[in-house]
Structure formats: C-alpha cells, structure tokens
Symmetry: C2
Subunit: 311 residues, 2 copies
C-alpha cells in the first residue's frame, strides 16, 4: 500500500506516569532522545499536573526543555488537563498541549474531577488563552470514546455532542479518540471514525489511541486505518500498564504498530531495529510493566519450524 | 452483529507439541474435557507422528479415545502428515484428520521432509484411503500460506495452484490457511480469503489459523472474518510458542479470540470465564510458554483510571 502514517509516541507521558519509582530526569531525557533517533517526530513528553498527585511528572518541564534543545526537530506536547496546566505549559514555551476530557460523565469526574460540561466550558477558556499564539497546536484526547469502565459502551450520541462542542471552541484541533479500557471492538472503532469523519469532515486530523489490554491493540489500529485515520498514539515497550489489572498491559506498543505498518508497506518513517532496542531498555525500568510483542524479536528473526508438522 | 463463528481448539496439538516436558496423559485428558466444558465443539487433540521425533504425542490415541468417551459430543481431529499417520488414525476410530502441507517448497521439506508435489501426490493417496468412510472429515492445514521463514512472502499463484490440486483430490475438504510465522499482514489475510473464495467458492468451509508472534493475531482474525471466514483455530493460553524465538508466543489465544467476538456480539458459543480459568491453569504447565491477554483479566474487570489524566 502506498499510504503513510504518523505515530505519536506517548510513552514518556502515558507510560512513565504508570511507573511508581521515580525515573531519573536524565534517563527520561535519554529515552526521549533515543525515541527521536528512531524516527519519531511527535512525542508526548509529559503531563502538567499537580506533582503531589503524580510525582513522576514533577520534572516534566526540565525534560521538555532538555529534549527540545537536544532534538529541536521533534514536536513535543504536554498533557494539560486544566487551565493551570496550560498556563504552566505556556510559561515554559510549550508549543502543543493535549487537553483531555472523557465522553462519559463518571470517568470524567474520576479522572479530572469535574463534569463533562465543566470540562467543555474550561476548554473554551483554554482556547481563548492560547488564541493567537502563532503555530500553537491543540490536541484533545477524548477518553472513554468507546467504552467506560463505569458506564460500559459509550453512546454515539454522547460522542457527537462532545466533538461538536470542542470544534465550536476551536476548529483546528486534532481529536484523538481513546480506547481507555482496551475494550473497544474493532468494528466499533471503524464505525466511530466513519461516523465522525462523515459528520465533521474527513480532512480533520483524527487520531486513535489504543490499548492492548485485551489483545485488541493492533486489530483496532487496523480498523481505524481502514476508516481513514493516519495518526496513531503508541507507547514504546507498551508501557502504561493499568495498576488495577495485574499482568495486563496498557498502551499498544510503538514497535508493534511500526511493525504492523512497515510489514504491510505503509510508511512510518521509523527505524524498527532502533525502536526494538529502546523498547528492550524500557522494559528494564524498575516498576515498568512492559507489553507488546515485537520487542522480543529481531525483525529479521523468523520462526523456523521443525520436524513436527508445525503449522 | 448477528454473525456466529466456530473456534477450533488446537492447543492439545499445536500447543502441547511445543512443550518439552511430557505432560501426563491424565492431565491432557482433563484439559481437553475442561475445554469441551467451556463450549468448544471442535478440538484438534494431537498428532499421529513418530513418537521418537515428538515424544509429547506418543499417547495421542489414548487421549483421543478417552476424550471421545468422556465428551462424545465434541468433534475431535488428529493431525496426520502422511499416509502412515492416517492409517493409524483410522485404526483408532478417528473421524477427522488434519493433513498438513506447506505452500512454500523449503518449508514443506523442512516440516514434512518432502516436496510440495510429493505432498500433493500423497494427499491423493490419502483421499483414496478414506474415500467412502461415512461422515469422515478431511481438513487441510495450508502452512506458509502467507509467509515462509525461508522464502519470505508466499506468492498468490503458488497458493491458488496448491488449493486447486487439493480440491481436485477431494472436494469437501475444509482448507485452513495458516500464518505460520505470524507475519501475515492483516491486509494480505483479507485479500487471500477474498481471492480464494472468489476462485473456489465462498460456500466452502475456509478457516484461518493465526499466530500472535508479532501481535497481529487478532488483527488478522478480524480481517479473515471481514473476508467471510467463520472458522478460526486458536490455542488456549496462547500455547505454542516457537522455540526459536525466546519470549515470543505462538498461536492466537482461544480466550482472546472468544473475547474479541463476544465483545462485538458475534456468538462463539463459549463460556469466557471457563476459558479464562482453564487458560490460567495451562499457563502453569511446566515448560509452557503462555501468550494472549485475556487470561490475565476477569472479563468483568475494568481498568479504572485515577487522578492522573489517564486516557
């Protein structure tokens, strides 16, 4: 196929935030540089959140500043779930924020401690705050876009309402639909994007953020691709395991997504061997719960069969 | 969706054969009964191969006889890669054989020690041998249908030629295309079945046997489903790791395939909780390399998010 896709590396945010032991700042910077050197051109580098609630992110702006200086060609973003986070990001010269809200009421209250209506109102404030800043980019992560751990399957009506309100506040946002629980069905993913692209425009930069908790990670990426999505979040080594599900892994692994596409001749711009190497290192971080498959294998490694009628 | 699918459990054959320490016969029987009790109605119970080459399968007919007596409603099959295996199977009252050949020449020589032409000629002999046996079923596992560890991507021409020859020998066979290396691209899987169904008839019982070595297991199952396939091989706990790829897992896990479909309202007839329980037990078999995701989770277990702007 002659298509190309963009992978947004979210490991330094979504992956590292799930790791309790504090990773030294220098090591975070080193990982981000290695990811950049594997070809990643978009990295979500951390969260601007209360360091008392999330100590792992206390050094987010040190990491951001260092990586921006060391790898100036890479677009770095910071997740900012509220106005205070956005103000901090702006004060540190951040050029892209990731705002997050959930489509489902109960998850939004659990995650960002306010109603969906309040999150939407806050988003209007935030867009006003960043209005007019040249080349500033706003992405919105739409959590529980498919399924909510408290409310089950998310209604299409709720999604369309939220997206409509977001676009009314700022038209040029990238909207990333997130399969928070990993339970989105591949068919639901395809229908979701087909519906959104039909309702709000196929040319918008729709993105998909998938989890591999139930093994559906790549299946859902394929279906999002089939529906026209070309931007995919992923986390190196599949970092981002859910602390409430021992043994389960979280985000779809960057190296798995890269393999999926490169193996099908869809260009990712990534160096798979480099990604596999850095993923292997990430799997050794104390407290990390690594997932994914491809990091176990060298890309050239083929599974040779024996004398046992293997199929 | 209002579809239904059939999952063929291949763990007692494809999974157990990858385990070096001999599993006691009684334990094999117990596992097969638990699989049957989880709703599986087709189980590939073992291989009729030289026990010197594959000691794990030395008790295959004891297991077959016991499970047939204990769970008579389940259709049991035996993999038989040659005429001698088929004769043994017939002598033990087996009612379904699985013949295996590879589309690629070098893999067929490595796996069953003969040329593709010789395997096809042997198949003609075997169909003559079982001709006229009432209700006898013949399945053919088409190894390296998509990708060969020695030759790379399999040519469509080679596949069509082999399938044509197989159907000429016996028209009512079930043909199962096997992604031996786990490197089939989801798009290649869809195209494969679309092509075969178009060339040889959509009403034939096409089946897909996927591996999860590179994380493509469920993505490929979905694409096969999209192309009209309704029969899927899977191995409980994802048993069947390739000994040449440490850390990698092999067959797509039965409980993952069941979750994929049940989660999308496609009926499998399976009891997911029962499958998860037996998969958890299988993961403790000495020497087993378990894969899959769903066995780590209770189906009702949702990944709840925290205060950290999880998406």
């Amino acid at each position: 196929m002659s298509a190309e896709v963009t992978i947004v590396e979210v490991g330094p945010r979504d992956g590292f935030q799930a790791i309790a032991p504090i990773i030294p700042t220098e090591r975070k910077i080193e990982f981000a540089c290695k990811l950049a050197d594997s070809g990643l051109r978009r990295i979500e580098i951390g969260s601007a959140v209360n360091p008392k609630l999330l100590p792992q992110m206390a050094d987010v702006f040190d990491v951001h500043t260092a990586v921006r200086n060391l790898r100036p060609h890479v677009a770095l973003s910071i997740l900012a779930p509220n106005r205070k986070g956005v103000e901090l990001a702006l004060a540190h010269g951040v050029e892209e924020i990731v705002y997050v809200l959930s489509v489902s009421e109960s998850h939004n209250r659990s995650n960002v401690h306010r109603s969906v209506a309040q999150s939407l109102a806050d988003f209007v404030d935030i867009t006003a705050l960043v209005q007019g800043i040249a080349d500033f980019r706003v992405r919105v992560d739409l959590a529980t876009a498919f399924h909510c751990p408290f409310e089950g399957v998310t209604s299409e009506r709720a999604v369309l309402t939220v997206v409509e309100r977001l676009l009314a506040a700022r038209d040029d946002i990238e909207i990333c639909a997130c399969d928070t629980t990993g339970r989105a069905s591949p068919w639901a993913v395809r229908e979701f994007f087909a519906r959104c692209r039909s309702a709000f425009g196929a040319d918008r930069p729709w993105a998909f953020h998938g989890h591999d908790t139930y093994g559906l990670g790549l299946a859902n990426v394929v279906q999002a691709f089939e529906a026209g999505v070309r931007v995919f979040d992923a986390s190196f080594a599949g970092l981002g395991g859910c602390p409430y599900a021992p043994g389960a892994t979280g985000n779809v692994a960057t190296e798995d997504v890269a393999f999926l596409f490169e193996n099908a001749s869809v260009s990712t711009g990534l160096d798979l061997a480099g990604l596999v190497a850095v993923a292997g290192q990430a799997a050794t971080i104390e407290g990390a719960q690594a997932g994914g498959r491809v990091k176990f294998l060298s890309p050239a490694q083929a599974c040779r069969s024996g004398i046992t009628a293997t199929v």
